[in-house]
């Protein structure tokens, strides 16, 4: 009876996932080990495409850049997001709803418009460089765009809400009495943060970082628009292989490498953090 009710409630979602997530994923896995000759798919099992990827310095380089970009974006989002989340969790200000809207605002703007906004700011003749050159503070424009810096800034901008909301939920649940207990036991505010708040907010750090990292390494539009093809990330290679080169098996293999590596990293991350989480969750 309870199982039946559960199935009825979960059914539609499971069906949706099976049809539009699991099935395409399985198909993609099949394609990645198949052979393609003259545009015709031959359903074989070959690891040729994986071997090609792993033996080619160019693709490995792109993979490395993608992961580094993911780490940079996650780290910056965490550093910027934590203080904001801390404030949001503690404040009783009547401006709190407005603050939340501000935090969510990057998600309210379409991705292309958001990127063009950054271009207006970061381009060689954009607002920042134009102002600095005009004032004579710099001789030639700073390289703010068409590099990792520009891509990272735009990615942090859009993923910050996920980080902040993940952290706020956890920080809010920390009993203020714990911080007071720490203080009466002789820990200063800074020490209390390090000894109590930080370890207790690890689940939020974990959740927010995982979310940000996986979104960052699979981002596509932002690296294209703000990286201007000078910043190569794996999703762009996948796109190129599938839609320009029409080498579907190699594109699928690329996508799977990305998937496997991010799942593995996430597993390691969870394992490492698990020890610190003992007693909390």
């Amino acid at each position: 009876m309870r199982l039946g009710a559960g199935l009825v409630l979960l059914g539609p979602y499971i069906l949706l996932l099976a049809l539009f997530f699991t099935a395409p994923l399985a198909l993609m896995l099949a394609i990645s080990v198949s052979r393609q000759s003259f545009g015709q798919m031959e359903w074989t099992v070959t690891f040729h495409h994986y071997a090609r990827f792993l033996s080619d310095g160019f693709y490995l380089g792109v993979l490395w850049d993608t992961l580094v970009l993911g780490v940079i974006v996650t780290a910056i989002a965490l550093l910027l997001g934590y203080p904001l989340a801390y404030h949001l969790a503690r404040t009783r200000s009547r401006w709190k709803p407005l603050l939340i809207v501000c935090i969510l605002s990057p998600l309210l703007v379409g991705i292309v418009i958001r990127c063009y906004g950054w271009m207006i700011l970061l381009a060689d003749r954009g607002l920042i460089n134009a102002t600095l050159v005009e004032r004579g503070w710099i001789a030639k424009p700073l390289p703010l765009m068409y590099n990792t810096f520009g891509v990272a800034i735009a990615l942090v901008h859009v993923f910050l809400p996920f980080m902040i909301l993940s952290l706020t939920g956890v920080l809010k649940r920390i009993d203020p009495a714990l911080l007071e207990a720490s203080q009466t036991l002789g820990a200063s505010r800074v020490r209390t943060f390090v000894e109590v708040t930080l370890p207790l907010s690890l689940p939020g750090i974990l959740a927010g970082s995982l979310l940000t990292f996986s979104l960052a390494i699979s981002s596509f539009v932002v690296p294209i628009l703000l990286g201007g093809f000078k910043v190569q990330v794996l999703p762009m290679i996948v796109y190129e292989q599938v839609l320009s080169v029409f080498d579907w098996p190699f594109g699928a293999a690329n996508a799977f490498v990305l998937l496997v590596i991010s799942v593995a990293l996430i597993a390691v991350y969870i394992k490492v953090t698990e020890r610190a989480l003992r007693g909390i969750v």
């Binding site: 009993d175 007071e180 203080q183 009466t184 036991l185 989480l277 007693g279």
Partner: protein, 359 residues
């Protein structure tokens, strides 16, 4: 008015002194001139209904509340500007506030670690503290693996292990069920005696206050109404509020007629205390001091009718009404002796009927 000082406490020789504390939150006044002196080794209770300022008083000793006016002294030193982590106070919170990500041992060791005590000494003192609260074998567990009572003991051990100047307890038994609470009351008092630490205890539960305290300050609307020993508080309440808050009591309004006699609803009642003839006064009379007697033998004996009988197990409560319309309650131990409608004589001594000062 500074009652604590008025009642004859010398200003020296106090572990904690509060002088005229005032704290406002917007338009509400949380503390309205609170002055208290807490003696070394004393179990001192702040008692009152919610919103009376007892917790604010405790938190201003801990340093979490900075008073708008007045001084807080710990061990003779003014600590108004000293942050909580340098005040050397131990505090136990209502919901224990144990660090969930640390074991019992790590929780208890926390304060010693902050004081940079040597490792082997920490081990030794943590073991002693856990033995003191009778949890010697629980060091490796996490707080969530302990019962509420055990968590409370760990919180106590953690607060005591650093040997603070004063132990602050904020309704520490509030989250426990009744049976455990009764047990912890005795346990807490034993611990406090054994360690001999000056303790300030906050509660709204008069029974807890009466059973554990050396002295009690009854607070009401941000002020201290009375500071006294449990027995003095119960037997000689100074104000109507104290009389009404501690236990059950008959508060009879009437007019003083001189020589300690008060006219309540046409009954002449002999009392202790003095009020000018003609003044409107309140007379406090404990129900258990009203005796239901056959003959007129006490200072006050009045013929009355039993209007209600309330059976309470150990005790029986009678609601009585005089022919002139005065109602009062009497409580007796044991069996039900009268039924509703019975005619009785209610008697009490002049000592038991007290004129309250703020009537």
């Amino acid at each position: 008015m500074d009652r604590a000082l008025e009642q004859g406490d010398a200003l020296s020789d106090h572990t904690v002194e509060l002088h005229g504390l005032v704290k406002r939150y917007g338009a509400t006044v949380a503390l309205d001139g609170v002055s208290l002196g807490i003696r070394p080794g004393e179990f001192f209770t702040l008692l009152g209904p919610s919103g009376c300022g007892k917790t604010t008083t405790l938190r201003s000793v801990a340093g979490f509340v900075v008073p708008d006016a007045g001084d807080v002294l710990i061990d003779g030193a003014r600590v108004n500007a000293v942050p909580p982590h340098r005040r050397r106070v131990g505090m136990v919170f209502q919901h224990y506030a144990l660090f969930p990500h640390r074991t019992v041992t790590q929780n208890v060791a926390f304060g010693l670690r902050m004081q940079r005590v040597a490792k082997d000494e920490i081990t030794r003192r943590v073991a002693t503290a856990l033995a003191l609260v009778q949890l010697p074998d629980h060091g490796g567990r996490y707080p969530r693996e302990l019962s509420g009572g055990e968590q409370q003991r760990v919180a106590l051990a953690r607060a005591l292990v650093t040997q603070p100047s004063v132990l602050l307890l904020d309704e520490p038994l509030g989250a426990l069920d009744k049976k455990l609470r009764d047990h912890m009351k005795i346990e807490l008092k034993r611990l406090q005696r054994e360690v001999g630490i000056t303790t300030i205890y906050v509660t709204h539960d008069q029974e807890e206050a009466l059973t554990m305290s050396d002295r009690i300050a009854v607070m009401h609307r941000g002020r201290v109404e009375q500071v006294a020993t449990p027995r003095a508080l119960y037997e000689t309440p100074a104000t109507t509020f104290v009389a009404g808050f501690i236990g059950n009591i008959n508060l009879l309004t009437g007019q003083a007629t001189g020589h300690g006699t008060v006219d309540c609803h046409g009954l002449k009642i002999a009392t202790t205390g003095y009020a000018a003839p003609g003044a409107a006064v309140t007379v406090a009379l404990r129900p258990e001091r009203v005796r239901l007697v056959a003959r007129e033998s006490l200072d006050n004996t009045h013929a009355m009718t039993v209007t209600h009988v309330v059976y309470q197990g150990e005790t029986v409560r009678y609601v009585l009404r005089s022919d002139s319309g005065l109602t009062l309650q009497a409580v007796e131990l044991g069996e039900v002796r009268f039924a509703a409608g019975a005619r009785v004589h209610a008697g009490w001594t002049a000592d038991d009927a007290r004129i309250l000062e703020d009537a």
